[in-house]
């Protein structure tokens, strides 16, 4: 098996910088990528008209850099994830013991043209690249709890 190259930097740095990053600055990375882990899975009905579905809101109740300064880390202990109207997950922001590299395929055709994405065309040799190194994650390790007036199980 020939060795598969793993490039330490992305060929075309993803530039989502057009969207400002609403997460606390500690979670910012150059590419904007972040990690969120939760128990279970998110299921939602497909909506054909849109490219994405908003499933909830992340709240950092203790995050207040204006009041507590950027160096404050106590806010990391509490994060809420409101799903739909009736459920809430409590979690925290954790520094990863070992950071994660986010790796994706970099595809290059034989004539040297760069093709991004999942093209499976012939004559393509596989190369990988590290898009980002992420050092923190938002983790919701517990099951959702019901909140608000109407208590009903929806997930």
């Amino acid at each position: 098996m020939p060795a598969i190259p793993l490039h330490p930097r992305p060929l075309a740095p993803s530039s989502p910088s057009s969207a400002s990053n609403p997460l606390p600055s500690l979670l910012h990375t150059p590419s904007g990528l972040a990690l969120l882990e939760l128990q279970g899975d998110i299921r939602f009905p497909p909506a054909a008209s849109q490219s994405s579905t908003e499933v909830g809101k992340l709240v950092f109740p203790l995050y207040n850099p204006v009041l507590n300064g950027e160096g404050d880390t106590k806010w990391m202990k509490k994060v809420y994830f409101y799903v739909d109207q009736n459920q809430r997950m409590a979690g925290e922001v954790k520094k990863l013991g070992k950071p994660f590299a986010v790796v994706r395929k970099r595809e290059i055709t034989e004539d040297g043209d760069v093709v991004m994405g999942d093209g499976e065309a012939g004559g393509v040799r596989e190369e990988l690249e590290i898009v980002e190194i992420v050092k923190y994650k938002i983790i919701f390790a517990l099951r959702p709890e019901p909140v608000g007036g109407g208590v009903e199980e929806t997930v």
Partner: protein, 342 residues
């Protein structure tokens, strides 16, 4: 209270076309390597798939290689969903789009790295044909594979492969690659020693290695093999790429002692006194006094008070390589059991 916070939060969306990302857990030394101004290219190598019907197929595994280290990659199943998110704008109906965070990939497994410090020697021993000359006739099988082809299939870093290549004294000859038998090492060394004597070359000071190899080649020993031996015996600080050579005296004396013993492996009786005498005779005149048993400590045994033989070399390296995947399986089961208890 809760409702207010909910309104002020960061909208979280999931894209309908998730991308394929893999999460690779990085040990500190790789993080350091990657965050340096000019990070080296890494690579993922694996053993070639075993030919179907192979008697004893090795377990398949992949390794991540830095220029000089290698790490075994293990896939770990996560019971949780891990999303990779990026900033986006979410708009609903006619509302003004608001900054949001959007999951663009979901990973159910992560990749963990464990140092793989196996030696390339065992792998090379398996794949390289032995080159021997018996009764003046070359006795070997061409494999038609260059050094590059062979090393590409060894799941270790370039530096580890090079080290193993040098340790086993492998060489390339007419588009094939080989490892020498002890017998041919003994023959070529004797020819090197004779040529050095004839040309008045001091082997432990700088000399033109290729010129010596040419002289040895007159006795039909391939020059690349002679060069491989000179490289194997060179002083460690020596630039082995150039045409100059300079042997490490202590290393060479030990090497000669060991190959003499191993070449005699088949015949039963080898008197210590005879061995030492033959050893001294196989060295440049000025080195004779250094042929002492302590130089080859650990590589010989004394079956009786007057005889000596080479210690058989245990094939330990292959065992450690196969033991690791088993450990990985055990760990996976532990994790599985944990999630089931929940």
């Amino acid at each position: 209270m809760a409702t207010q916070q909910k309104d002020g939060g960061v909208p979280f969306a999931v894209t309908h076309e998730l991308q394929s990302f893999r999460l690779l857990e990085l040990p500190p030394e790789i993080v350091e390597l990657l965050e340096a101004p000019n990070p080296p290219q890494l690579s993922i190598k694996s053993l070639p798939p075993a030919a179907s019907g192979a008697a004893n197929p090795k377990p398949a595994y992949a390794v991540l290689c830095t220029p000089n280290k290698s790490f075994q990659i293990r896939q770990v199943q996560t019971s949780n969903s891990v999303f990779v998110t990026q900033p986006s704008y979410e708009a609903h109906g006619n509302e003004i789009p608001t900054p949001a965070t959007c999951a663009i990939a979901s990973c159910s497994t992560t990749l963990e790295l464990y140092p793989a410090d196996a030696s390339a020697v065992a792998h090379l021993g398996d794949v390289l044909p032995v080159y021997d000359i018996v009764g003046g006739e070359v006795d070997t099988t061409e494999n038609g594979r260059s050094k590059g082809d062979v090393l590409a299939d060894i799941p270790l870093s370039n530096a580890q492969c090079e080290q193993g290549w040098n340790e086993i004294i492998a060489f390339e000859l007419s588009r094939s690659s080989y490892r020498p038998s002890v017998n041919i090492l003994r023959q070529v060394w004797s020819s090197i020693n004779a040529a050095a004597l004839a040309e008045n070359i001091k082997l432990d000071s700088q000399f033109l290695g290729y010129d010596l190899a040419e002289l040895v080649a007159e006795e039909s020993y391939p020059a690349p093999l002679t060069m491989a031996i000179l490289r194997h015996l060179a002083k460690s600080e020596q630039d082995t790429k150039g045409q100059w050579s300079c042997l490490d005296r202590r290393r060479t004396v030990s090497f000669v002692g060991r190959i003499l013993l191993q070449a005699r492996q088949t015949s039963s009786e080898y008197r210590v006194a005879d061995f030492i005498e033959e050893w001294k005779d196989s060295l440049p005149e000025a080195w004779r006094s250094e042929a002492q048993l302590k130089v080859i400590e650990g590589t010989y045994e004394l079956p009786s008070s007057t005889t000596i033989r080479a210690k058989s070399i245990p094939a330990a390296t292959t065992e450690t390589a196969t033991a690791k995947p088993t450990a990985a399986k055990g760990k996976w089961h532990e994790r599985f059991a944990k999630t089931r208890k929940k």
